[in-house]
């Protein structure tokens, strides 16, 4: 081969520039390297603070419930990103460097999302988060609101599943972890949150927060595409009959059904439980979530032997339970614990 053939356009040597993972990585470099500090500086907190101060307490509470699960969720996915970097470099995949390149971009982006919400919460919404400072100093203890709803349980579960996948997990463990992280947390819980914020913004337009969400949701789109690509690879091997990959689709389905319970509970927690002052509409939110789930599980992954009815039933059960749930009591319990810790830390 003539050396003059290898122009940059024709690709590199050991990196496969035709790979979807490479394209995702490259788009992360082009689009995902926005600077959270600069964004905050450029747009400023003033307008948002003004709007925030004009809100009624129940409206603030609704935002606080949404932002609680976003900051704790971003923190949790950032912490688990290192496990994804490990998992995609195992022999269960083809050991391509492109996946690792993208996973490193994902790790940076999740850290940045955590940074954005941390800045925002601390500078605009802090009156609704009296123990927040303590929580972060303790290394990611969840906010009482997060602990009170399904999202808190879902993030705990995510840590366990990701650890299992990264430390000697087989393809079935990896499928479970990827389903929970990329379909459940990023693909439905977070995107359901964007749906909610769009509605809430109509009544309470928090400009800087919306800009942050626009950048973050753009990054998340790539993370979800990445997760679906990984799952497609595993499913492909299962369909080819490779013994170690048998059970992958079943694991995806089981995990999706488990997660929809946590997600539905969170949806009710941020809407119906507090009278939905900013008009999200719980039923619309559930329908949106179901649509997103259907697109990923049936249209994109086309998994076998999955009954949409089971999925809807799991969501309906969670809805029923959520309506009887006393979240306030749980929040108070955690508030109390945190208050004691805060006093202890102050002494």
């Amino acid at each position: 081969m003539d050396a003059s053939d290898s122009t940059p356009e024709s690709g590199a040597g050991r990196i496969d520039t035709d790979s979807t993972y490479y394209e995702l990585y490259q788009k992360s470099v082009e689009l995902g390297t926005w600077d959270a500090e600069k964004l905050v500086e450029k747009v400023g907190f003033e307008e948002d603070r003004e709007v925030w101060e004009s809100l009624a307490d129940d409206e603030k509470e609704q935002w606080a419930r949404v932002i609680s699960y976003f900051i704790d969720g971003e923190h949790a996915v950032a912490q688990d990103a290192r496990r994804i970097m490990t998992t995609v470099s195992t022999p269960w995949f083809d050991r391509s460097i492109e996946k690792e390149m993208f996973a490193s971009a994902l790790a940076l982006e999740e850290a940045k999302h955590t940074q954005f919400f941390d800045l925002y919460l601390s500078n605009v919404m802090i009156d609704k988060f009296p123990q927040y400072e303590l929580d972060t100093r303790r290394g990611g203890v969840q906010i009482p609101r997060t602990d009170a709803c399904g999202a808190g349980k879902m993030f705990d579960r995510q840590g366990t599943l990701q650890a299992q996948a990264a430390h000697g997990g087989d393809p079935v463990d990896i499928a479970r972890a990827a389903t929970n992280y990329h379909i459940g947390v990023e693909g439905i819980l977070a995107r359901g949150g964007y749906f909610a914020k769009n509605r809430m913004m109509q009544e309470a337009p928090l400009t800087l927060l919306n800009k942050g969400f626009q950048f973050i949701s753009t990054d998340e789109g790539r993370h979800i595409t990445f997760g679906l690509e990984l799952l497609e690879e595993l499913i492909e091997k299962e369909r080819q009959g490779v013994p170690e990959y048998q059970g992958v689709q079943n694991a995806i389905w089981e995990q999706a059904v488990e997660d929809i319970g946590y997600i539905t509970d969170t949806g009710y927690f941020i809407t119906g439980d507090i009278g939905d002052p900013l008009g999200v509409d719980f039923d619309d939110l559930v329908n949106r979530g179901a649509r997103l789930a259907g697109d990923m599980l049936f249209d994109t992954l086309d998994i076998d032997n999955a009954q949409p009815r089971d999925y809807m039933q799991a969501a309906a059960d969670a809805m029923e339970e959520a309506r009887d749930n006393d979240y306030g009591e749980v929040i108070e319990k955690y508030d109390h614990i945190y208050e004691q810790k805060k006093q202890a830390a102050g002494d």
């Binding site: 979807t20 394209e23 995702l24 788009k27 082009e30 689009l31 926005w34 600077d35 600069k38 964004l39 450029k42 995107r191 964007y194 749906f195 914020k197 769009n198 913004m201 109509q202 337009p205 400009t207 919306n210 800009k211 969400f213 626009q214 950048f215 973050i216 949701s217 753009t218 998340e220 789109g221 790539r222 979800i224 595409t225 697109d295």
Partner: protein, 86 residues
Amino acid sequence: MTKLTDIEGTDFTASDEEIEAAVEDAAADLGMAPERVSEEVAYILDSGSGRVNNEGVAGAAVGSNADTHDDPRLEALDVFKLRQEL
């Protein structure tokens, strides 16, 4: 890679001509080729999938952005322009 005017979506209010004109203006301001801007903005909306799946941008009908008439493609173009400043 998808062109912005080839992307599928439901909430489009602007015409393809309006989109192309807005992309050309932005490209001139940024000193970039219009095709490149079109591709990047499409990617903001579809993450490579060919259809709009970024409701974080697409549905951001905050009502406060009169320039975009709530068309997700113009909203995404605004995101891209701001991103270039960050």
